[in-house]
Amino acid sequence: MVREMKADMNWLDDPEVFRVNRLDAHSDHRFYKDMEDMKNESNSLTQSLNGNWSFSYSMNAKERPMDFYNVDFDDQTFDEIQVPGHIELNGYDKIHYINTMYPWEGHVYRRPKYLLENHPEGAGLFSEADYNPVGSYRKVFDLNEELIGKRVCICFEGVEQAIFVWLNGEFVGYAEDSFTPSEFDLTPYIKEKGNVLAVEVHKRCSAAYLEDQDFFRFFGIYRNVTLYAKPSIHVEDLWVRPSLKEDNTTGKFKMDLKISSAMESDIDTASEIGTVKVILLDKEDNVVFQTEDAINETVSLKPVEIEKVNPWDNHNPYLYTVLVQVYNSEQKLIEVVPYKIGFRRIEIKDNIILLNGKRLIINGINRHEWSANRGRSITIQDMEWDMKCMLENNINAVRTCHYPNQIPWYYMCDENGVYMMAETNLESHGSWQKSGKVEPSWNLPGSHVKWREVVLDRAKSNFEYFKNHTSILMWSLGNESYAEENLAVMNQYYKEVDPERLVHYEGVVSNRIFEDRISDMESQMYTAPWDVEAYLANNPKKPMLLCEYMHCMGNSLGGMISYVKLLDKYENYHGGFIWDYIDQALWVTDEVTGEKVLRYGGDFDDRPSDYEFSGNGIVFADRCEKPAMQEVKYCYGLYK
């Protein structure tokens, strides 16, 4: 890959440019320099850059401080901002909630590039807009000792929506996709001391068409920023495929590794630079098997069969640990990678979805990441609270609506046996659903080839980062993005790279021509119980689930029992995911009483808005359970 040396604002406008110098997505494994670090879960090879950064806000790209990335730039006039966090919640830009409409509705006329003959160009759509705010961030840091002299990369776990990165005055890279990590190699530019990291975040770019989720529209660095150093030999990627044979007691284990060496020539010449040892441990740390291979750029383990495994499911989320140990040619331990995996089998047989041979029942919820204090910049404590709440209320499945979540959430779902529908960062209902009606005269991602790679990359990132999580039973292509060729291509991608999981997409109900190419299951949303029954009773093509049902807005969730009863009647009905987990509202100080109050869409002079549609949770924005929760707990408890 040729490294781009200069930033170009036109990338904001061009759907074909969505990553520049961004590293390939890879598995989200943790790695340590030795066993002790691993045991302490303290990784001395990483260095957090969270905390205070200097910051400047501009209304648009023209007004931004153009040369702020220069090392000698004087940032005395800059403010301070906390990273991670949303720029709006720091008081710089208006908070805005809107559901399906694009956030510029009624403010700016826009049509996406390439889709309509009378709008071919789209030049300057975002880069030259009068209102498209920019956050210019600067951070000066010294490298921690353990990182010095090694290959150093930076990981932005989540930046909304387009990001330009410079280090020590040199252009590092560009990325879009607000909800998956963006990583860059800093090795060529990094120094021991006084590094100047400059990050320019643009609120909107062509990706805005693909990120039209029903939520508050924020921008900024809202997830962790972390430096990591790679040991001289490093596991770049692992792809563990544990599975369960038909007898439900024999496990199968396959695994591929991608390994890099600080001296690239080492690995190219395939000279013996070391060995990689893979050990599988059960819960009590007994060795189930181990194997050793010579290090190569890719290492594929011979498939192994294991007798009498403990299968993983919601009732017994039994996890084994895969331990990857990397040794150099002197037998010195260079790197350790632990990964917890479970043996399970998800499949469709006779039109029924089976997990480990048993019919899968989804007692699910859709979960946006939300905190009334911090917006989508949620904390581990928030996640732990959510997990506890779900387990206490018999919720066994979660859909990561409508974007990949923070990495720890996937680990928590593995540990607690919560089934995941892992959704790609894609929602474009503003492009084809107008005032609730289907109107796809232009729609995204549609069929245009120039909008293909960008959505495919989102699917790739989702798969590559999270592929090892046992809890993921199905990939989801996104939400409410109609259905044309580009979604079919995404579907095909997931089936090719991961034939052992299911693929989900609901939007095909709006364009059934693609029914046979998109989604392994019939997925609908908000279908009335009697209409669900009509589908099920009429020779259904596919097993059915409801990716969204029971819209829990305000005082609601009436009639849930009618859905639950369908589970008794139809084997190929698998339940659904309640819409949704948590009200989206924000704590603010009441301008009249001075008290802390919760505010929702439209409360910030934000127009147009969809107002209280921001709150449909089974918990309130402050995470108190709604009264409806006792019904959820009861109904889901019937099929626990």
Binding site: G436, Y526, N555, G558, G559, V592, V597, Q630, C635
Partner: protein, 322 residues
């Protein structure tokens, strides 16, 4: 003053010019021809009524009601809830209807009138088009127990009701309430998870839905006791708790006990806009529409949880000292 010299089960009756007083040991009720209902309900020297109770036929629009345009279709019940008026009063003494005993007819009575039972029936007219009537009868026996029978007359052409019952507004905020019924906030289509039992609720919580809306309904209730420890009586310095009890008669009722009327909730877009809680609003409900939730932009509540206004609704409950 309460009558304290009545040691029998006989009720002492005060045939007033504008009201009908009914006294017994430790209780004192006043029915008003002027306000059109039970104006005063005093037990143990404590007043339980802020304003004359009337039938209620509105609930603060829920998000789902808004989404399926229930409020547009049934909005005339909102007006009726606020502006219902009393069109007739019938007094029945010991089972016998008498002519409305106002002046000058009441000149025929004395200060020592008694009866075993007194029943006063108020007829209310809705301001719907077409209009219909609701009868509410209060039958008092010698122990002071009041049996309240509520009868709604169905009328063809009237839109569905969100709720139907009696609303009692009490002068001060309750300290809490105890009831025998289902756990939590329940509605006809959301009560499978409700566990039968006796539950005590401290204070008068209003469920903190983002937009204030109907809330805190409890289905299948056998009885409800409301506790207060304050009055508006300037001479009453006591802070002792006193209690009023509502009991089901034939079938269980639903209730809510919150500090706001449907109209107060209806008008607020945020909780901070609600008035400071200072009263207790107890709704004893004979019919409740489901809350629904298939979606919030058009889907109706399931059919069996609608309330037809074209059919009669009748239910009965009792009020007594807790």
């Amino acid at each position: 003053m309460d009558c304290t010299n009545n040691k029998t089960d006989q009720l002492q009756i005060i045939y007033g010019d504008v009201t009908l007083g009914v006294h017994g040991e430790d209780f004192h009720y006043i029915f008003s021809y002027q306000t059109g209902g039970l104006e005063s309900l005093v037990i143990g020297g404590k007043e339980w009524l802020y304003r004359t109770p009337k039938p209620t036929c509105w609930r603060a629009t829920t998000d789902n009601d808004r989404g399926n345009r229930f409020s547009q279709n049934s909005g005339m019940w909102f007006g009726s809830d606020m502006f219902l008026f009393c069109s007739n009063v019938l007094v029945t003494i010991d089972g016998k209807d008498i002519e409305k005993p106002i002046a000058p007819l009441n000149n025929a009575f004395s200060e020592r009138e008694v009866a075993s039972t007194v029943k006063v029936t108020f007829t209310y007219k809705t301001i719907t088009v077409p209009t219909t009537e609701i009868d509410v009868s209060y039958e008092v026996n010698g122990t002071g127990r009041i049996q309240v029978k509520v009868h709604y007359y169905g009328k063809l052409g009237l839109p569905e009701l969100p709720v139907f019952g009696m609303r009692f507004v009490m002068p001060t905020k309750a300290t809490g309430f105890t009831y025998e019924g289902l756990s939590g906030e329940t509605y006809p289509d959301r009560m499978s998870g409700g566990v039968p039992g006796v539950y005590t609720v401290e204070g008068l919580p209003v469920t903190r839905y983002m937009v204030p809306q109907d809330c805190n309904v409890h289905m299948k209730t056998k009885w409800l006791e409301v506790n207060r420890n304050t009055t508006q009586n300037n001479a009453d310095k006591s802070k002792d708790t006193f209690t009023l009890r509502f009991s089901a008669v034939d079938k269980e009722f639903a209730f809510s006990c919150i500090p706001y009327t449907a109209e107060e909730l209806e008008n607020a877009t945020h909780h901070e806009e609600l008035p400071l809680p200072r009263r207790t609003v107890v709704s004893i409900l004979g019919a409740v529409r489901g809350v629904g939730g298939i979606n919030s932009w058009g889907a109706e509540v399931e059919k069996e949880y609608h309330i037809s206004a074209e059919k009669d609704i009748e239910y009965t409950f009792e009020i007594s000292k807790g």
